[in-house]
Protein backbone atom coordinates (compact mmCIF):
# COMPACT_ATOMS: atom_id res chain seq x y z
CA UNK A 1 0.00 0.00 0.00
CA UNK A 2 1.36 3.34 -0.98
CA UNK A 3 0.82 5.94 1.70
CA UNK A 4 1.88 8.74 -0.58
CA UNK A 5 0.97 12.37 0.04
CA UNK A 6 -1.96 13.20 -2.19
CA UNK A 7 -0.74 16.68 -2.98
CA UNK A 8 -0.88 16.05 -6.71
CA UNK A 9 -1.88 13.45 -9.23
CA UNK A 10 0.35 10.42 -9.24
CA UNK A 11 0.44 10.80 -12.99
CA UNK A 12 1.91 14.29 -12.80
CA UNK A 13 4.30 13.31 -10.08
CA UNK A 14 5.56 10.34 -12.06
CA UNK A 15 6.01 12.53 -15.11
CA UNK A 16 7.93 15.11 -13.17
CA UNK A 17 10.12 12.55 -11.44
CA UNK A 18 11.12 10.80 -14.63
CA UNK A 19 11.63 14.13 -16.36
CA UNK A 20 13.91 15.32 -13.58
CA UNK A 21 15.71 12.00 -13.69
CA UNK A 22 16.43 12.39 -17.38
CA UNK A 23 17.33 16.06 -17.05
CA UNK A 24 19.76 15.37 -14.22
CA UNK A 25 21.41 12.70 -16.28
CA UNK A 26 20.47 9.96 -13.83
CA UNK A 27 19.45 7.84 -16.77
CA UNK A 28 21.93 7.77 -19.59
CA UNK A 29 20.99 8.88 -23.07
CA UNK A 30 20.10 5.97 -25.27
CA UNK A 31 19.21 3.83 -22.31
CA UNK A 32 16.12 1.71 -22.67
CA UNK A 33 13.17 2.59 -20.50
CA UNK A 34 11.38 -0.67 -19.83
CA UNK A 35 7.88 -0.08 -18.58
CA UNK A 36 7.95 -2.79 -15.96
CA UNK A 37 11.09 -1.33 -14.42
CA UNK A 38 9.58 2.13 -14.32
CA UNK A 39 6.50 0.73 -12.59
CA UNK A 40 8.74 -0.41 -9.78
CA UNK A 41 10.97 2.66 -9.73
CA UNK A 42 8.14 5.18 -9.75
CA UNK A 43 5.62 3.18 -7.76
CA UNK A 44 2.75 3.62 -10.19
CA UNK A 45 0.86 1.38 -12.54
CA UNK A 46 1.82 0.64 -16.08
CA UNK A 47 -0.94 2.82 -17.46
CA UNK A 48 0.60 5.83 -15.76
CA UNK A 49 4.06 4.87 -16.96
CA UNK A 50 2.72 4.63 -20.47
CA UNK A 51 1.14 8.07 -20.29
CA UNK A 52 4.36 9.47 -18.87
CA UNK A 53 6.40 8.03 -21.70
CA UNK A 54 4.00 9.40 -24.28
CA UNK A 55 4.24 12.84 -22.75
CA UNK A 56 8.01 12.76 -22.58
CA UNK A 57 8.14 11.61 -26.17
CA UNK A 58 6.31 14.74 -27.23
CA UNK A 59 8.54 16.83 -25.02
CA UNK A 60 11.46 15.47 -27.02
CA UNK A 61 13.15 13.77 -24.09
CA UNK A 62 12.20 10.22 -24.99
CA UNK A 63 12.15 8.30 -28.23
CA UNK A 64 9.55 5.63 -28.87
CA UNK A 65 9.60 2.95 -31.52
CA UNK A 66 6.43 0.95 -32.16
CA UNK A 67 6.53 -2.39 -30.41
CA UNK A 68 10.11 -1.77 -29.45
CA UNK A 69 9.77 0.42 -26.46
CA UNK A 70 11.10 3.74 -25.31
CA UNK A 71 14.59 5.00 -24.73
CA UNK A 72 16.12 8.24 -23.55
CA UNK A 73 16.58 10.38 -26.60
CA UNK A 74 20.14 11.13 -27.53
CA UNK A 75 20.52 14.70 -28.67
CA UNK A 76 23.38 14.82 -31.13
CA UNK A 77 25.81 17.72 -31.34
CA UNK A 78 24.22 18.77 -34.62
CA UNK A 79 20.82 18.82 -32.97
CA UNK A 80 22.17 20.75 -30.02
CA UNK A 81 23.39 23.39 -32.42
CA UNK A 82 20.03 23.51 -34.16
CA UNK A 83 18.25 23.83 -30.86
CA UNK A 84 20.54 26.64 -29.77
CA UNK A 85 19.90 28.46 -33.04
CA UNK A 86 16.16 28.16 -32.57
CA UNK A 87 16.49 29.30 -28.97
CA UNK A 88 18.59 32.19 -30.15
CA UNK A 89 15.94 33.74 -32.38
CA UNK A 90 13.14 33.02 -29.93
CA UNK A 91 14.96 34.50 -26.97
CA UNK A 92 15.97 37.45 -29.10
CA UNK A 93 12.29 38.03 -29.74
CA UNK A 94 11.66 37.80 -26.01
CA UNK A 95 14.49 40.26 -25.34
CA UNK A 96 12.89 42.76 -27.69
CA UNK A 97 9.56 42.45 -25.93
CA UNK A 98 11.24 42.63 -22.55
CA UNK A 99 12.96 45.87 -23.56
CA UNK A 100 9.61 47.33 -24.52
CA UNK A 101 7.84 46.25 -21.35
CA UNK A 102 10.42 46.26 -18.58
CA UNK A 103 9.48 48.29 -15.50
CA UNK A 104 12.00 49.85 -13.16
CA UNK A 105 11.51 46.91 -10.80
CA UNK A 106 12.16 44.45 -13.61
CA UNK A 107 15.41 46.17 -14.52
CA UNK A 108 16.48 46.22 -10.89
CA UNK A 109 15.85 42.47 -10.70
CA UNK A 110 17.97 41.87 -13.78
CA UNK A 111 20.79 43.98 -12.37
CA UNK A 112 20.67 42.02 -9.13
CA UNK A 113 21.08 38.73 -10.96
CA UNK A 114 23.85 40.24 -13.05
CA UNK A 115 25.65 41.30 -9.88
CA UNK A 116 25.40 37.82 -8.45
CA UNK A 117 26.78 36.39 -11.66
CA UNK A 118 29.74 38.73 -11.47
CA UNK A 119 30.47 37.54 -7.93
CA UNK A 120 30.22 33.89 -8.94
CA UNK A 121 32.51 34.44 -11.88
CA UNK A 122 35.09 36.20 -9.73
CA UNK A 123 34.97 33.28 -7.31
CA UNK A 124 35.44 30.82 -10.18
CA UNK A 125 32.11 29.28 -9.24
CA UNK A 126 31.17 28.23 -12.75
CA UNK A 127 28.26 26.08 -11.65
CA UNK A 128 26.81 28.99 -9.73
CA UNK A 129 27.45 31.26 -12.68
CA UNK A 130 25.68 28.87 -15.01
CA UNK A 131 22.73 28.79 -12.67
CA UNK A 132 22.62 32.58 -12.57
CA UNK A 133 22.78 32.56 -16.34
CA UNK A 134 19.68 30.39 -16.45
CA UNK A 135 17.87 32.67 -14.05
CA UNK A 136 18.70 35.75 -16.07
CA UNK A 137 17.42 34.22 -19.28
CA UNK A 138 14.31 33.00 -17.51
CA UNK A 139 13.65 36.44 -16.05
CA UNK A 140 13.99 38.15 -19.40
CA UNK A 141 11.45 35.77 -20.86
CA UNK A 142 9.18 36.38 -17.90
CA UNK A 143 9.42 40.14 -18.40
CA UNK A 144 8.59 39.73 -22.07
CA UNK A 145 5.25 38.23 -21.08
CA UNK A 146 5.40 36.17 -24.22
CA UNK A 147 3.72 32.90 -23.29
CA UNK A 148 4.42 31.17 -26.58
CA UNK A 149 8.13 31.90 -26.52
CA UNK A 150 8.25 30.87 -22.88
CA UNK A 151 6.70 27.52 -23.67
CA UNK A 152 8.89 26.84 -26.68
CA UNK A 153 12.14 27.84 -25.01
CA UNK A 154 11.36 25.77 -21.93
CA UNK A 155 10.98 22.72 -24.16
CA UNK A 156 14.15 23.45 -26.07
CA UNK A 157 16.15 23.99 -22.90
CA UNK A 158 14.97 20.70 -21.47
CA UNK A 159 16.44 18.87 -24.44
CA UNK A 160 19.77 20.60 -23.97
CA UNK A 161 20.58 19.69 -20.41
CA UNK A 162 23.36 17.40 -21.46
CA UNK A 163 25.23 20.34 -22.91
CA UNK A 164 24.39 23.04 -20.42
CA UNK A 165 27.71 23.20 -18.61
CA UNK A 166 29.90 22.59 -21.57
CA UNK A 167 30.14 26.01 -23.16
CA UNK A 168 30.97 27.83 -19.97
CA UNK A 169 33.98 25.56 -19.55
CA UNK A 170 35.65 26.94 -22.66
CA UNK A 171 38.63 29.00 -21.43
CA UNK A 172 37.85 32.71 -21.35
CA UNK A 173 34.23 32.10 -22.25
CA UNK A 174 33.01 33.15 -18.80
CA UNK A 175 34.32 36.69 -19.10
CA UNK A 176 32.96 37.10 -22.61
CA UNK A 177 29.65 35.68 -21.54
CA UNK A 178 29.35 38.15 -18.70
CA UNK A 179 30.11 41.10 -20.95
CA UNK A 180 27.42 39.93 -23.36
CA UNK A 181 24.89 39.64 -20.58
CA UNK A 182 25.76 43.08 -19.29
CA UNK A 183 25.19 44.61 -22.72
CA UNK A 184 21.88 42.78 -22.95
CA UNK A 185 20.64 44.04 -19.61
CA UNK A 186 21.68 47.59 -20.44
CA UNK A 187 19.76 47.45 -23.72
CA UNK A 188 16.66 46.31 -21.87
CA UNK A 189 17.14 49.01 -19.26
CA UNK A 190 17.32 51.59 -22.04
CA UNK A 191 14.12 50.13 -23.55
CA UNK A 192 16.00 49.68 -26.79
CA UNK A 193 14.28 46.71 -28.47
CA UNK A 194 16.61 46.55 -31.45
CA UNK A 195 19.72 46.55 -29.27
CA UNK A 196 18.26 43.97 -26.89
CA UNK A 197 17.40 41.64 -29.73
CA UNK A 198 20.83 42.10 -31.30
CA UNK A 199 22.59 41.53 -27.97
CA UNK A 200 20.72 38.30 -27.33
CA UNK A 201 21.39 37.02 -30.81
CA UNK A 202 25.04 37.92 -30.53
CA UNK A 203 25.26 36.18 -27.16
CA UNK A 204 23.67 32.95 -28.32
CA UNK A 205 25.67 33.01 -31.53
CA UNK A 206 28.78 32.80 -29.37
CA UNK A 207 27.24 29.98 -27.37
CA UNK A 208 26.68 28.13 -30.63
CA UNK A 209 30.28 28.71 -31.63
CA UNK A 210 31.46 27.34 -28.30
CA UNK A 211 29.30 24.31 -28.85
CA UNK A 212 30.86 23.71 -32.25
CA UNK A 213 34.32 24.17 -30.80
CA UNK A 214 33.80 21.65 -28.00
CA UNK A 215 32.19 19.11 -30.29
CA UNK A 216 33.09 15.63 -29.24
CA UNK A 217 33.83 16.21 -25.58
CA UNK A 218 31.44 14.02 -23.67
CA UNK A 219 30.45 15.38 -20.30
CA UNK A 220 29.62 13.22 -17.33
CA UNK A 221 26.63 10.97 -17.33
CA UNK A 222 26.98 9.52 -13.91
CA UNK A 223 24.38 8.85 -11.30
CA UNK A 224 21.78 6.20 -11.00
CA UNK A 225 18.06 6.38 -11.05
CA UNK A 226 16.76 3.85 -8.58
CA UNK A 227 17.42 0.41 -9.93
CA UNK A 228 17.03 1.23 -13.57
Amino acid sequence: MTSRPRTSDPSDEAYERLRQGIMRGEVSPGQRLVEADLVEALGVSRAVVRTTLTRLTHAGLVEKEPNRGARVRTVSEEEAIEITQARSVLEALAARHAAERATATDVAGLRTILGEMKTMLAAQDLLGYSEGNSRLHAKIIAISQHQTVQRLVANLRAQMVRFQYRTILVPGRGKESFAEHKKLVEAIAAHDGDAAEAAMRNHLLHVTESLVRTKGSRPDGAGLFGRI
Copy 2:
Protein backbone atom coordinates in the same frame (compact mmCIF):
# COMPACT_ATOMS: atom_id res chain seq x y z
CA MET B 1 9.90 11.93 -46.56
CA THR B 2 9.37 8.20 -46.81
CA SER B 3 6.04 7.30 -48.25
CA ARG B 4 3.92 5.49 -45.75
CA PRO B 5 1.94 2.84 -47.59
CA ARG B 6 -0.04 1.70 -44.59
CA THR B 7 -0.99 3.35 -41.37
CA SER B 8 0.72 0.88 -39.12
CA ASP B 9 -0.71 1.70 -35.70
CA PRO B 10 -4.35 2.30 -35.03
CA SER B 11 -3.05 4.71 -32.46
CA ASP B 12 -1.36 6.84 -35.10
CA GLU B 13 -4.37 6.71 -37.34
CA ALA B 14 -6.70 7.81 -34.55
CA TYR B 15 -4.33 10.63 -33.68
CA GLU B 16 -4.16 11.79 -37.26
CA ARG B 17 -7.91 11.58 -37.76
CA LEU B 18 -8.75 13.59 -34.67
CA ARG B 19 -6.01 16.06 -35.48
CA GLN B 20 -7.36 16.55 -38.97
CA GLY B 21 -10.84 16.88 -37.53
CA ILE B 22 -9.74 19.67 -35.25
CA MET B 23 -7.62 21.35 -37.90
CA ARG B 24 -10.46 21.32 -40.41
CA GLY B 25 -12.74 22.87 -37.86
CA GLU B 26 -15.06 19.86 -37.81
CA VAL B 27 -15.07 20.09 -34.05
CA SER B 28 -15.63 23.55 -32.71
CA PRO B 29 -13.10 25.21 -30.44
CA GLY B 30 -14.03 24.86 -26.82
CA GLN B 31 -16.08 21.78 -27.51
CA ARG B 32 -15.76 18.97 -25.00
CA LEU B 33 -14.09 15.80 -26.17
CA VAL B 34 -15.68 13.00 -24.18
CA GLU B 35 -13.62 9.86 -24.32
CA ALA B 36 -16.56 7.50 -24.74
CA ASP B 37 -17.80 9.45 -27.74
CA LEU B 38 -14.38 9.40 -29.35
CA VAL B 39 -14.20 5.65 -28.85
CA GLU B 40 -17.30 5.32 -30.98
CA ALA B 41 -16.35 7.97 -33.53
CA LEU B 42 -12.82 6.69 -34.08
CA GLY B 43 -13.50 3.01 -33.58
CA VAL B 44 -10.66 2.43 -31.16
CA SER B 45 -10.37 1.58 -27.49
CA ARG B 46 -10.35 4.10 -24.70
CA ALA B 47 -6.67 3.59 -24.06
CA VAL B 48 -5.91 4.72 -27.58
CA VAL B 49 -8.27 7.68 -27.23
CA ARG B 50 -6.51 8.63 -24.04
CA THR B 51 -3.10 8.49 -25.67
CA THR B 52 -4.42 10.52 -28.56
CA LEU B 53 -5.74 13.21 -26.26
CA THR B 54 -2.48 13.34 -24.34
CA ARG B 55 -0.56 13.77 -27.56
CA LEU B 56 -2.86 16.46 -28.86
CA THR B 57 -2.59 18.26 -25.54
CA HIS B 58 1.15 18.48 -25.99
CA ALA B 59 0.67 19.59 -29.57
CA GLY B 60 -1.37 22.47 -28.22
CA LEU B 61 -4.58 21.52 -29.98
CA VAL B 62 -6.39 20.17 -26.93
CA GLU B 63 -6.72 21.38 -23.37
CA LYS B 64 -7.02 18.96 -20.49
CA GLU B 65 -8.20 19.68 -16.99
CA PRO B 66 -7.69 17.05 -14.30
CA ASN B 67 -10.82 14.98 -13.77
CA ARG B 68 -12.73 17.31 -16.00
CA GLY B 69 -11.84 16.03 -19.39
CA ALA B 70 -10.48 17.44 -22.59
CA ARG B 71 -11.74 20.12 -24.89
CA VAL B 72 -10.60 21.63 -28.14
CA ARG B 73 -8.26 24.43 -27.26
CA THR B 74 -9.39 27.89 -28.18
CA VAL B 75 -6.55 29.98 -29.51
CA SER B 76 -7.25 33.60 -28.73
CA GLU B 77 -6.37 36.45 -31.04
CA GLU B 78 -3.58 37.48 -28.69
CA GLU B 79 -2.16 33.98 -28.80
CA ALA B 80 -2.45 33.89 -32.57
CA ILE B 81 -0.35 37.02 -32.72
CA GLU B 82 2.23 35.52 -30.37
CA ILE B 83 2.36 32.35 -32.41
CA THR B 84 2.83 34.31 -35.61
CA GLN B 85 5.65 36.28 -34.03
CA ALA B 86 7.38 33.09 -32.96
CA ARG B 87 6.84 31.59 -36.39
CA SER B 88 8.26 34.74 -37.89
CA VAL B 89 11.65 34.52 -36.24
CA LEU B 90 11.86 30.75 -36.70
CA GLU B 91 10.95 30.86 -40.37
CA ALA B 92 13.34 33.76 -40.84
CA LEU B 93 16.08 31.51 -39.47
CA ALA B 94 14.98 28.81 -41.89
CA ALA B 95 15.03 31.30 -44.77
CA ARG B 96 18.61 32.20 -43.94
CA HIS B 97 19.67 28.57 -43.95
CA ALA B 98 17.71 27.95 -47.13
CA ALA B 99 19.52 30.81 -48.83
CA GLU B 100 22.83 29.28 -47.83
CA ARG B 101 21.95 25.77 -48.97
CA ALA B 102 19.57 26.12 -51.91
CA THR B 103 20.60 24.24 -55.05
CA ALA B 104 19.55 25.25 -58.53
CA THR B 105 16.82 22.62 -58.42
CA ASP B 106 15.56 24.00 -55.13
CA VAL B 107 15.34 27.51 -56.53
CA ALA B 108 13.53 26.22 -59.62
CA GLY B 109 11.02 24.51 -57.36
CA LEU B 110 10.40 27.71 -55.45
CA ARG B 111 9.93 29.67 -58.66
CA THR B 112 7.43 27.10 -59.90
CA ILE B 113 5.32 27.47 -56.77
CA LEU B 114 5.62 31.24 -57.02
CA GLY B 115 4.36 31.08 -60.60
CA GLU B 116 1.37 29.00 -59.53
CA MET B 117 0.61 31.48 -56.81
CA LYS B 118 0.63 34.31 -59.31
CA THR B 119 -1.85 32.45 -61.50
CA MET B 120 -4.14 31.76 -58.53
CA LEU B 121 -4.01 35.36 -57.46
CA ALA B 122 -4.84 36.60 -60.95
CA ALA B 123 -7.79 34.20 -61.00
CA GLN B 124 -8.97 35.48 -57.61
CA ASP B 125 -8.58 31.95 -56.27
CA LEU B 126 -7.67 32.95 -52.74
CA LEU B 127 -8.03 29.46 -51.34
CA GLY B 128 -5.65 28.13 -53.95
CA TYR B 129 -3.30 31.02 -53.30
CA SER B 130 -3.34 30.29 -49.58
CA GLU B 131 -2.52 26.68 -50.28
CA GLY B 132 0.36 27.71 -52.52
CA ASN B 133 1.52 30.00 -49.77
CA SER B 134 1.67 27.05 -47.38
CA ARG B 135 3.60 24.99 -49.88
CA LEU B 136 6.13 27.74 -50.45
CA HIS B 137 6.79 28.16 -46.75
CA ALA B 138 7.01 24.40 -46.31
CA LYS B 139 9.47 24.11 -49.18
CA ILE B 140 11.71 26.83 -47.79
CA ILE B 141 11.84 25.04 -44.47
CA ALA B 142 12.57 21.78 -46.24
CA ILE B 143 15.44 23.41 -48.15
CA SER B 144 16.84 24.80 -44.92
CA GLN B 145 17.27 21.23 -43.67
CA HIS B 146 16.68 22.54 -40.17
CA GLN B 147 14.83 19.74 -38.40
CA THR B 148 14.24 21.65 -35.21
CA VAL B 149 12.68 24.65 -36.91
CA GLN B 150 10.62 22.32 -39.06
CA ARG B 151 9.20 20.59 -36.01
CA LEU B 152 8.48 23.78 -34.13
CA VAL B 153 6.87 25.59 -37.04
CA ALA B 154 4.70 22.59 -37.87
CA ASN B 155 3.35 22.67 -34.33
CA LEU B 156 2.77 26.39 -34.40
CA ARG B 157 1.01 26.26 -37.74
CA ALA B 158 -1.30 23.52 -36.52
CA GLN B 159 -2.51 25.78 -33.74
CA MET B 160 -3.24 28.56 -36.18
CA VAL B 161 -5.59 26.81 -38.57
CA ARG B 162 -8.54 28.81 -37.37
CA PHE B 163 -6.88 31.99 -38.62
CA GLN B 164 -5.21 30.74 -41.76
CA TYR B 165 -7.58 32.25 -44.30
CA ARG B 166 -8.26 35.44 -42.47
CA THR B 167 -5.27 37.57 -43.38
CA ILE B 168 -5.46 36.90 -47.09
CA LEU B 169 -9.00 38.24 -47.09
CA VAL B 170 -7.82 41.73 -46.17
CA PRO B 171 -8.35 43.86 -49.30
CA GLY B 172 -5.14 44.36 -51.22
CA ARG B 173 -3.26 41.96 -49.00
CA GLY B 174 -2.93 39.36 -51.73
CA LYS B 175 -0.90 41.58 -54.00
CA GLU B 176 1.37 42.72 -51.18
CA SER B 177 1.78 39.16 -50.03
CA PHE B 178 2.85 38.04 -53.47
CA ALA B 179 5.43 40.81 -53.76
CA GLU B 180 6.87 39.81 -50.40
CA HIS B 181 7.13 36.20 -51.43
CA LYS B 182 8.80 37.15 -54.67
CA LYS B 183 11.42 39.17 -52.83
CA LEU B 184 11.98 36.26 -50.49
CA VAL B 185 12.50 33.77 -53.28
CA GLU B 186 14.89 36.11 -55.06
CA ALA B 187 16.96 36.51 -51.91
CA ILE B 188 17.21 32.75 -51.57
CA ALA B 189 18.10 32.42 -55.25
CA ALA B 190 20.89 34.95 -54.74
CA HIS B 191 22.11 32.97 -51.70
CA ASP B 192 21.80 36.13 -49.65
CA GLY B 193 21.09 34.91 -46.13
CA ASP B 194 20.65 38.36 -44.61
CA ALA B 195 18.17 39.45 -47.27
CA ALA B 196 16.24 36.19 -47.04
CA GLU B 197 15.92 36.48 -43.30
CA ALA B 198 14.87 40.10 -43.56
CA ALA B 199 12.34 39.34 -46.29
CA MET B 200 10.74 36.57 -44.26
CA ARG B 201 10.54 38.72 -41.15
CA ASN B 202 9.08 41.57 -43.13
CA HIS B 203 6.51 39.26 -44.67
CA LEU B 204 5.35 37.75 -41.40
CA LEU B 205 5.36 41.15 -39.74
CA HIS B 206 2.73 42.16 -42.26
CA VAL B 207 0.78 38.99 -41.58
CA THR B 208 0.81 39.91 -37.90
CA GLU B 209 -0.45 43.39 -38.71
CA SER B 210 -3.26 41.95 -40.78
CA LEU B 211 -4.15 39.70 -37.88
CA VAL B 212 -4.34 42.66 -35.54
CA ARG B 213 -6.43 44.59 -38.02
CA THR B 214 -8.98 41.81 -38.48
CA LYS B 215 -9.25 41.13 -34.78
CA GLY B 216 -12.75 40.15 -33.85
CA SER B 217 -13.94 38.74 -37.15
CA ARG B 218 -14.88 35.15 -36.53
CA PRO B 219 -14.43 32.88 -39.52
CA ASP B 220 -16.58 29.86 -40.20
CA GLY B 221 -16.54 26.87 -37.92
CA ALA B 222 -18.97 24.68 -39.72
CA GLY B 223 -18.87 20.99 -40.35
CA LEU B 224 -19.52 18.03 -38.14
CA PHE B 225 -17.27 15.29 -36.97
CA GLY B 226 -19.24 12.08 -36.85
CA ARG B 227 -21.73 12.30 -34.05
CA ILE B 228 -19.67 14.38 -31.71
